[in-house]
Subunit: 329 residues, 2 copies
């Protein structure tokens, strides 16, 4: 199914409001989902609507997203039990607003849950000329290195650097696989690649159901475990419990830095562009076509969609489209 941007946005808003999300927050989520499609991430796009509808259905109505504390270089946000897709836009924009005055800003957000591509939020900072960092402590699904209990979230982190042209955008989960990927494999009756998860006895498993009952492995052994733990501890600044047992009360961390604090902003942007250029022009390893800079593919994908203008289309898998329509019955 091919939808226009307008139709895809409207469809997403209709589903989300139907399941109780306030209109203004649903508009934010819809914009994120459509952007994911335009950036080449179909799985993070409208395909998420059935999951989001299910998560919304089980919840009491959300409140307002409110800044509950603010200093010259920080803010604390109560997400009002709203989805993090909306909370993170408001939190990142608050961090950017504070950074514009003070040069650096840290924002924490609590009372929120579930989010999409973290790249989406940090890019907002980079588009303003700032460095944006965001990470999230969520539901415990990952075992610490050497352990077998799910104590760490999948703990994604994203960092965006502004340049004289397109930003560098790094976005990764710190678990070897994700909840979405395991659920998708389970739904399709497929197995997981080897080495990503353990069952509840701590034995390696490729069965997604056993993995969901057991734990994902931390990506990258003891070093990946270290970074995952750092993400969790930064998220906990928002007051999240050390181990999050259900799909709520995540801990969100946002940091925005203006390079101007220590060097002329435009000079920094030029240097970032220069490093990108050097990397992209460097010799690829045997068998590799081209050396890439993180974020490059998503940005190019979106640019092609923008170039297409009104003709740009959002692709939705036919089976998933049928399921989305059913959500409106």
């Amino acid at each position: 199914m091919q939808l226009t941007i307008e139709d895809a946005t409207e469809l997403a808003v209709r589903v989300l409001t139907r399941y109780g999300m306030p209109q203004r927050y649903a508009a934010m989520v819809a914009e994120h989902l459509v952007d994911a499609a335009l950036s080449g991430h179909e799985f993070a796009s409208l395909a998420r609507l059935p999951t989001l509808a299910k998560l919304l259905q089980d919840r009491p109505p959300a409140g307002e997203i409110r800044v509950v504390k603010e200093t010259a270089n920080s803010a604390l946000i109560d997400g009002g039990d709203n989805i993090a897709y909306a909370v993170s836009v408001i939190a990142m924009d608050k961090a950017i607003e504070i950074c514009r005055k003070s040069g650096i800003a840290m924002v924490s957000a609590y009372n929120t849950w579930f989010s999409g591509r973290l790249a989406y939020y940090v890019e907002r900072a980079a588009r303003q000329g700032f460095i944006g960092i965001h990470c999230m402590h969520g539901t415990a699904r990952t075992a610490p290195f050497g352990g077998m209990e799910a104590l760490l979230g999948t703990n994604p982190i994203a960092i965006a650097f502004p340049s004289a042209d397109e930003p560098v955008i790094i976005d990764m989960s710190m678990s070897a696989t994700t909840h979405g990927a395991a659920n998708l494999a389970k739904a399709k009756g497929e197995t997981l690649p080897a080495g990503l998860a353990i069952d509840s006895s701590g034995r390696p498993t490729v069965d997604p159901d056993a993995a969901l009952k057991g734990a994902f492995l931390a990506w990258g052994g003891h070093r990946g475990y270290g970074i995952s733990l750092a993400v969790q501890l930064l998220g906990m600044l928002a007051g999240s419990e050390p181990v999050i047992g259900d799909d709520s009360r995540f801990g969100q961390f946002y940091l925005v830095i203006d390079p101007e604090l220590v060097m002329p902003r435009e000079q920094y942007h030029a240097r970032v562009s220069e490093l990108k250029k050097i990397i992209k022009a460097s010799r690829p390893a045997p068998g590799v076509e081209k050396v890439r800079v993180p974020g490059e593919n998503s940005l190019a994908h979106r640019q092609r969609a923008r170039d297409a203008g009104a003709a740009a289309e959002v692709h939705v898998d036919d089976t998933i489209y049928a399921r989305i329509r059913e959500l409106l019955n």
Copy 2:
């Protein structure tokens, strides 16, 4: 060879000042080297002196370490071409000083080179109740993922979190191996483990000499490459060149955060302790004795040395001790 702490410190200061390092900075480096021994990192201890002497020998006399710019929440430091062992103590302490007033502080340092265990600096912040983050952009020795040219530093990063008891200290290099390890293997006539480096034609190599002429691999594939690139770009805030060709003009980044900005400090400390306790009490994977928290072993090692009091000793390999003595001839 077993030395008392006093004798080991004095020996290090004598070597460093002999090769031109100002006395007050040599004292800082010596304290770091001795602490590395007490924390169980013999390789990062007095064994470094021959390398440091050689690096000092080739340099003009260093100047002063000076704060050249300071705002309410940041500082920029000119390292005066001093070794980063000294610059990083001064930079981290400046960040802590600013953080105490404003709740968050970023410091960048330029005109400096070579450093030891980054854990040493971030621990200073955690001991004051703050979160400390430090990373360093150094000499290009690592290929980007998919590439074969050495464009990235080994780009270490360290993060320390304060707790109600001992801090969590994460410290890792973002390259698959380090310059020190490759040089050591070369000196011993040993090979490197497979999968850590490529030769100058981009082919995998276990020959340390070929690796030093080629490039180390980024640790952890495309995700490790992403984090390494982020470290490089944060370091470049200090004005370091995008790719550093020789052993000088590194870019150093320090960030200190007071949890009090968003939650009561003691409450945060208690939560960090709680997470540590949960992880350490969790079931280990089959074949693993105990689940560990990053930094735990080094801190326990140092505690045993402290408990020994005046009887604590610094072990130096006999061959290395002989080489150190020769440096004083």
